[in-house]
């Protein structure tokens, strides 16, 4: 006889609320009339995220590894990352709300008469809101999942809506769809790797859960070949999602092709979710086997940092440049994965929030710089922006300085925290590599600031649109957070420290 599993609804509520809001969004999309839809979708999405955040806040000090039998483990790190994802989603939705970036009818072929008539009639479909919420629910489940089936399901729930969202761009649709297809194919491939790895690990340990895996490694009863292969394949799936070299090749294309608000959301939220899961898998599941994976991940971290920093120098497209810079940042966070101590965990939590906020803000600014054909992403045409609209250029520079890790910005504190955790764990060579790649990275961030402010003539055809109120709020929050977390990082650092633990 099958007994219904006992679920701890209070702890699972944040995810359920988001899923509920997403479903509600689907119903609204189907039944509510056109004129009201966009506004209603926005309200539902923001309300859903806020309520979920409120619930998360209420249960913040609780923890349970049996909230849903043994499939998820609600603990400090999980709750912190869920909160971060909700924050990113909130800001992301504020920018996504500017429907000008999205194809009015995604199903219409690019260049077809259907598309033209949809554009003309102003009938804008708003499926992007429920899709975002579905992705958020997957992103929230991923970092707390503790068995391979749940992990895989969460990964897919996170990824599938993103594949669609990447293809939604209104302008340059072919590029957008190409990016979506690339992302989908490579993503499906990496999912297969992930699943294959999970199967091998199951074969090794006879259990689907991370705890079972640890016990099996400690007991060392199984065949180590399965363990190593399984861990390697599983890592491929994760490293793809976080965009680490050599599994990064999708990142520039997808970041470039996706509608810019989606890029910002994706860069922040996906990275947080995927790192949450990665940390849990390596800290809980594979901790006991660290001698076998640590060197490999360390090498990947170094290559990722250096590759991202060097490759970004040659980029001429701002979105691609930010994509490569995100790869470099992935490398920095991977240092924390290798460090395997509590300070590394809290440093990662801080870093993900700091980086995510700056990323959403930076991409938010990219949405503002346009000419008659839409966004201008060619860096050469950003020249002299500082003269045209000093405030926008100054805020963008602030985000760049934070990415570069200049003191008094949140990015510096994050970097400092991660480096000191790595030094503490004895991985001094990683600190040195990190410092050197920061030095390289500083170059292209500064060059961009130089172009914004110090270039001679300005580009006449490019203008900065006046941001909508919502976009303005999102960018302002990101900018203020970047400065405040740089000046008074204790506000978040102390929280991160309290939440930096995993329940087995």
């Amino acid at each position: 006889m099958l007994t219904a599993p006992k679920l701890d609804y209070a702890l699972l509520a944040p995810i359920l609320i988001i899923l509920g809001a997403a479903l509600l969004g689907v119903i609204v999309e189907a039944f509510v009339k056109q004129a009201l839809r966009a506004r209603l979708q926005l309200v539902i999405a923001l309300a859903g995220i806020s309520i979920a955040f409120g619930q998360l806040y209420l249960v913040r000090n609780e923890g349970s590894s049996i909230a849903a039998v043994t499939s998820v483990s609600i603990d400090g790190s999980g709750i912190f990352i869920q909160g971060a994802i909700l924050l990113f989603a909130f800001l992301g939705i504020l920018i996504i709300a500017d429907q000008d970036h999205f194809a009015p009818q995604a199903s219409a072929l690019p260049g077809s008469s259907e598309e033209a008539s949809a554009l003309e009639s102003g009938k804008q479909q708003t499926e992007v809101f429920p899709l975002t919420l579905f992705a958020v629910s997957g992103a929230m489940l991923f970092p707390i999942a503790t068995d391979f089936i749940t992990l895989f399901v969460a990964l897919e729930v996170l990824s599938l809506p993103l594949y669609l969202m990447v293809g939604l761009s209104r302008r340059r649709r072919l590029l957008s769809q190409e990016a979506a297809l690339k992302y989908f194919l490579l993503g499906a491939y990496s999912s297969a790797f992930f699943l294959f790895g999970a199967a091998l690990l199951y074969g090794y340990s006879g259990s689907l859960s991370l705890n079972g895996l640890t016990d099996a490694i400690r007991g060392s009863g199984g065949n180590d070949v399965f363990l190593l292969l399984g861990a390697a394949f599983l890592s491929v799936g994760l490293l793809f999602k976080i965009g680490a070299v050599p599994f990064h090749s999708w990142t520039p294309d997808v970041y470039q092709g996706a509608p810019t608000p989606i890029t910002g959301f994706m860069a922040a939220a996906t990275k947080a979710a995927a790192f949450g899961a990665t940390l849990r898998i390596f800290y809980i599941g594979l901790d006991a086997a660290q001698v076998s994976w640590k060197p490999a991940i360390a090498v990947i971290a170094v290559i990722t940092m250096i590759f991202g920093s060097i490759a970004a120098i040659s980029q001429r497209d701002i979105k691609r440049m930010l994509a490569l810079s995100s790869i470099a940042h992935t490398g920095f966070v991977l240092i924390a994965v290798v460090s395997l101590n509590k300070s590394a965990l809290s440093a990662t939590l801080f870093y993900l929030v700091a980086y995510g906020l700056a990323t959403i803000g930076a991409f938010g600014i990219v949405t503002l710089v346009r000419d008659s054909a839409g966004e201008v992403t060619d860096i050469n045409r950003w020249v002299g922006l500082g003269k045209k609209s000093p405030l926008v250029a100054a805020v963008f520079s602030l985000f760049l300085l934070s990415f570069a890790g200049i003191p008094l910005t949140s990015g510096f504190v994050g970097k400092f925290a991660i480096f000191s955790a790595a030094y503490e764990s004895g991985n001094i060579y990683l600190v040195v590599a990190g410092v050197l790649s920061s030095a390289i990275a500083v170059f292209f961030y500064l060059r961009l600031i130089l172009m914004l402010f110090f270039a001679g003539e300005t580009n006449g055809s490019v203008s900065v649109v006046i941001p909508s109120v919502l976009t303005r709020i999102a960018i302002s929050i990101s900018a203020i957070a970047t400065v405040v977390l740089g000046l008074a990082p204790s506000l978040l650092l102390d929280v991160a420290q309290n939440f930096a633990y995993f329940l087995r």
């Binding site: 003191p407 510096f412 503490e424 050197l436 920061s438 030095a439 402010f453 110090f454 008074a488 204790s490």
Partner: protein, 501 residues
Amino acid sequence: MSILTTLQLLPLFGAIVVAVLPVGNAKLIKQTALGFSLLVTAVSLFMAFSFKTEEAALQFTETRSWISAFNINYSVGIDGMALALILMTTILVPIVFLAGWNESENGRWSVKVFYILLLILETMMIGVFAATDVFLFYVIFEAMLLPVYFLIGGYGVGERAAAAMKFLLYSLFGGLLMLAALIGLYVISTNQGGGTFDIAKLSELTIDSTTQNWLFLGFFIAFAIKAPLWPLHTWLPTAAKSATAGTSTLLLGVLDKVGTYGMIRFCMNFFPEATKTFTPAIITLAVISILYGAFLAIGQKDINSLIAFTSISHFGFITLGIFALTSQGLTGAIFYMVNHGFSTAALFLTAGWMAKRRGSSNIADFGGLQRVTPVLAWSFFLAGMSALALPGLSSFISEFLVLVGSFAKYPVAAILGTTGIILASLYVLIVVQKSLHGETPESNKGILDLNLREKIAIAPVIAVLVVLGFYPKPVLSVINTTTQTIMTHAGVSDPIAKVAK
């Protein structure tokens, strides 16, 4: 709130006040900025008079928790060395304001932004010398690059953007190395009973010699870039050539001193063993800097580049004095830091006036200025004499102390350094002769002499050079206590003279 904190916040407050003034009213902006900088000078002088010279401990201390997760504090306090450097800063800033009254008007941005940047920079310049928490020091050390970057890139001349970029990249690279070393130091302190960034506590750590060497290098390279030591100096001449006279004054006069200050405060203090290990190499680099800077100064065609190269030579002297590890050398080096600040200010400001009036900073374009602009010419002459350390001017005393102090331990280096003085008279006299003497070409006949504002700006600088040249005791006595403390801590003592009786 300690007076030091007040002193730091005053310019920042001034920057905020300037920020809310209307953009169009340039005169009001300048007057407000000058007013605040004079107020800062007054407060710093007041602080100097209540400073207890004989006391070895830090004074005017204040500590507040900043980032508790890493036990990082906002903590400030000064000893004699820091006091001397802060005073130099607070005196130079209003002079720079006054001297460069109009230099902000040809920039990319408004006059307002110029003064906001300068006032923020002053806050940081005071803070960097006052900080007694290494993390706080580091943050300011890095953050103060940004105002300078924008000052060079936004208000400079010629290849200003490229110069600003070069300056920033060099400095940030050094800063990142220092960051790695700083983290290492922090982790070592964590392993020895509690992580801290407090300078006093960090200097008590026991560190094995290999680690010490690496950490020393991390700090030292950052400082050697800052106080440009050959071969890390290449950013300086381009920056000095492109920056306005005022910015150059602060860059070379104050910011670069952070480098030599850091060598004393951090390198010697935290890593006494490594200091001794690396001393011969550093002395060599210092001597090379002295000679290289001097030789290149002789060949310069641009007057600002010339001053930059003389500074490289002078920083060589300062470094030589520091790493001679004798009390005379160290006292001389610290005194040199102060004198060099004023002497460079005099050079850059007068050269800036000359260049502005002539519309060119090419030495060959000047000539015969003595006849048309006697006051300007005499000021430049005196500044030049100070650069070549003429007895009676303050730089003579410091240079003498450095050479005497280093001769006791490193006679060869001292002798080679002495030739630097001879070269100094060459490069100074050549430029003096070319620009001030001889026939006045037609193009220079219309050049006007200094106006009252400019005379008021240059007078205190020259007064300081002369007064300290005859009566250096006030500054020396403030520095001496610090020197003794540092020497004792580093575990070095003066060699006893071999020729006895």
